[in-house]
């Protein structure tokens, strides 16, 4: 599929922003004494800002952005509609959380609103990934790894930002190493999940070939004419030219930038924590930024990997009947 930058930014920033919020709410209800006021405000603001970056980018994807609000109509059957609704609800809950905190209302109300925000966020994470996973004609997307990686990567990146802010503005506390350890664990988990997803996608196949597509039972079918003198929507939207070599380079690069470099940084922080907390904070921020960059690369490649059935008609479907074990 064509890697549309607006969708890459939407899925990465919104999920990462929700990770920040979830981290914030959980910390604030478990260890409120370790959090400074400026941290809570900054984290909530950052989370909301991330949502606005995502939503802003998504408008560039629409042909008719002014009518975008209509996307809430079909929540009963469209995952896209549910995505829009849950994202808006989350922004509402996060903003309310911020307002309640600033106006110093009851702490238990703050927690209730926070957990309500987390529920919206879970709804969004599921809906947003199901938008892709529910397209059965793209085998690389229609599997459990899509929601699993969307959620796990988003939360890990959010946690990385939350941790960076935490080091920067909160009182020194004995929970620092624990949080650092949690982040390392999350990163390793996401790494394994993503590696499994790439492995799965490398072997995913369909029994379909151009023979099924045009309904003629013959092993030798060649496309002679695409019915168009030049590229058009169907040759561009569903297909991104990439060689096997390029894609394996991209995959390796993604694994290094998204997981390995940040992982090294988290470990370094673990060593540095007791010596220099400012240095640790600086490292944590750079780690989170590197991870965000990696996530953008990962999501872009997620689109490129998507291989739509309609490509069968245009001779662009990468798994041809030749390497298909079912058709010989």
């Amino acid at each position: 599929m064509h890697p549309e930058m607006s969708l890459v930014i939407l899925t990465v920033f919104s999920t990462a922003g929700q990770g920040i919020f979830i981290f914030l709410v959980v910390m604030n209800s478990i260890v409120p004494e370790s959090l400074s006021g400026s941290y809570i405000i900054t984290a909530a603001l950052a989370s909301i800002l991330f949502q606005f970056i995502g939503m802003g980018a998504s408008f560039f994807h629409l042909g008719n952005p002014m009518k975008g609000w209509k996307a809430i109509m079909m929540w009963r059957n469209s995952w896209l509609s549910r995505e829009v609704i849950s994202l808006s609800a989350f922004v509402g809950a996060a903003s309310l959380y911020l307002i309640i905190y600033i106006t110093e209302m009851n702490k238990s109300i703050l927690d209730i609103v926070g957990y309500a925000g987390i529920i919206m966020s879970i709804g969004f994470l599921i809906a947003s990934s199901m938008v892709y996973a529910s397209i059965g004609y793209i085998k690389e997307w229609a599997n459990a790894f899509t929601p699993a990686t969307f959620i796990s990567l988003g939360l890990t990146c959010g946690a990385a930002f939350a941790l960076a802010g935490f080091y920067l503005s909160c009182h020194h506390s004995e929970i620092y190493p624990k949080i650092n350890l949690l982040l390392i664990a999350m990163t390793i988990f996401s790494f394994i999940l993503k590696a499994m997803a790439y492995r799965f996608n490398a072997n995913v196949y369909t029994s379909l070939s151009v023979s099924n597509a045009i309904g003629i039972n013959d092993k030798h079918i060649k496309l002679m004419d695409r019915g168009t003198p030049y590229a058009h929507y169907n040759t561009k939207e569903y297909f991104h030219p990439i060689t096997e070599d390029q894609s394996s380079i991209q995959k390796n690069l993604i694994m290094i930038v998204t997981f390995l470099i940040p992982l090294l940084i988290w470990m370094l922080i673990g060593l540095l924590l007791n010596i220099n907390s400012h240095g640790a904070a600086f490292l944590a921020i750079s780690g989170a930024c590197v991870m965000l960059l990696g996530l953008l690369m990962e999501r872009r490649f997620f689109f490129i990997q998507g291989n739509h059935f309609q490509n069968l008609y245009y001779g662009n479907y990468k798994k041809s009947s030749i390497d298909n074990p079912l058709v010989r």
């Binding site: 896209l80 529910s134 379909l208």
Partner: protein
């Protein structure tokens, strides 16, 4: 409940693209508003078409045959494009089964086109909405047209009458009968969308020769020494050389 659709006879289709061109012509000037066309006479013409004819070669040389496959929206009975649309702009009409897009509601999110296995929806960048074959809904019920022209533009244009329009669920229609008689089939049934358009397969023709024909042929062969040259170089060169 009826289900209007097209039945396309692959045995008759000669790949002339007349259906595609007339579809474009009608839908550019018809009641649904224009279809975008960027640089139609330039080196990189880009535009929206509701119907495209693709050409495939089937078989191994020298036993090959050419198949022309005109493809437009199949007006699926279980249309996934309708189910995923977040705005309900994409809908299926109950009365005749035609799948349409309400341009006033479409936000141009392109999600429906991902959900279609056939790749027959095309995004109009100029209007910012998704478009596709309307089964000429603005012709078939159009009282301003003479009765015999109330058919899809592509059907009227086809010089070999390879396109048949009708209710595929009504046993009295030609469309219904042809599907049964000629073993009409659906494209990509694996996608489970229950497409309504049917394709009539190519037939195998066998020529019966009687002895006289064979004698004439033999006679000709002796008379005019036909020499078959091995194919070398490009076709153009081959034709040029004596």
């Amino acid at each position: 409940m009826s289900q209007y659709a097209l039945v396309i006879d692959l045995d008759k289709c000669v790949g002339c693209h007349a259906c595609a061109v007339n579809c474009k012509a009608w839908n550019t000037g018809g009641q649904y508003g224009p279809l975008t066309d960027k640089a139609p006479y330039g080196a990189r013409p880009e535009g929206v078409w509701f119907n495209r004819v693709q050409t495939y070669e089937v078989g191994k040389f020298p036993n090959t045959e050419v198949v022309y496959l005109p493809k437009s929206c199949m007006h699926c009975k279980d249309a996934p494009c309708v189910k995923v649309c977040p705005t309900s702009a994409s809908y299926k009409r109950r009365e005749d089964g035609i799948v349409l897009i309400n341009y006033d509601d479409c936000i141009g999110c392109k999600y429906c086109s991902w959900a279609c296995p056939y790749g027959v929806r095309e995004f109009d960048t100029y209007d910012g909405v998704m478009k596709k074959c309307t089964l000429c809904v603005d012709r078939i019920y159009n009282d301003n047209l003479p009765a015999d022209e109330r058919k899809p533009a592509c059907v009227l244009a086809c010089p070999t009458k390879a396109r048949i329009f009708g209710d595929i669920d009504d046993p009295s229609t030609d469309a219904f009968k042809l599907i049964r008689e000629r073993m009409g089939y659906k494209l990509l049934p694996e996608a489970a969308t229950e497409p309504s358009n049917y394709y009539l397969p190519k037939r195998k023709y066998k020529i019966q020769l009687n002895m006289d024909d064979i004698l004439v042929r033999k006679h000709l062969k002796v008379e005019t020494e036909v020499k078959v040259l091995p194919f070398t170089g490009t076709i153009a060169e081959d034709i040029a050389s004596p």
